[in-house]
Symmetry: C2
Subunit: 148 residues, 2 copies
């Protein structure tokens, strides 16, 4: 079956590829540094992850929490594994991926663009969107890679 | 500092205590079987979890996904680690806990009470609440424990 997550990631959003996972930046930067950790293998749910995959996921979480604190002074993180959209198809064909949203108790400015977190201390907003220019995206990815 | 998650869990919501984690049922059963996996140790974030704690978390995720499929035919799961509320305090004192929401493409009836998931295939609703009587709570926990 066709699976969008099995396709090669768009190079311009790519942060890092590890043995089992692919880390990419989201186009929506309402939460600066927001991104995805996607299983390289087409795996349907968390139960099916192998011990090595689960262990490397923790390594990546640790690296990203460290990196985004160094790069943008991220205050804390929201981690979610949902996969709801896959169940709009019949039959569903989910592919394990995690959403990470760094959260901020302060404003961060990048190339003159301000990034705020007005919902800090509360559940993330799914309505608020922030698009970025190619230049700002390159700066964000460069800063993340510097500390990864 | 005072930490509500370090307190003993309410016996009536308790599902299981393992070496490193405590599993409890949520009072809000808008998603039948919704609950929490809370670290026994006061640990501030996912980065600080030790390898044994991370590994046992996966064991628990696998057990709960299996169990809730057996007990209520849960279709899939939403897993989140947020900890936003802790950051409303100054200084914040977060304690690692996971939210799990089984999701359903069908209605489940327990002791004459219907449980639906009108948002199936979409992000969970934080507005919809479903309280349960002590009897229904006991039945839900009993059915979960039967397959755990």
């Amino acid at each position: 079956m066709n699976c969008i997550s099995c396709k090669k990631p768009n190079e311009k959003n790519l942060i890092v590829i590890t043995k089992f996972w692919i880390v990419t930046l989201s186009r929506n930067q309402a939460y600066l540094g927001r991104g995805y950790i996607t299983s390289k293998r087409h795996c349907n749910n968390l139960s099916e992850l192998k011990p090595d995959e689960w262990s490397e996921l923790h390594d990546l979480i640790k690296k990203l929490e460290y990196t985004l604190e160094k790069a943008f002074n991220a205050t804390m993180f929201n981690w979610t594994c949902l996969m709801n959209v896959a169940y709009q198809e019949s039959p569903p064909n989910p592919h394990v991926h995690w959403h990470f949203r760094p959260r901020y108790d302060h404003t961060v400015e990048i190339a003159g663009k301000q990034f705020n977190d007005p919902e800090f201390g509360h559940h993330y907003s799914r309505k608020r969107e922030q698009s970025i220019t190619p230049t700002v995206r390159e700066i964000i990815i460069h800063k993340i890679k510097q500390h990864l």
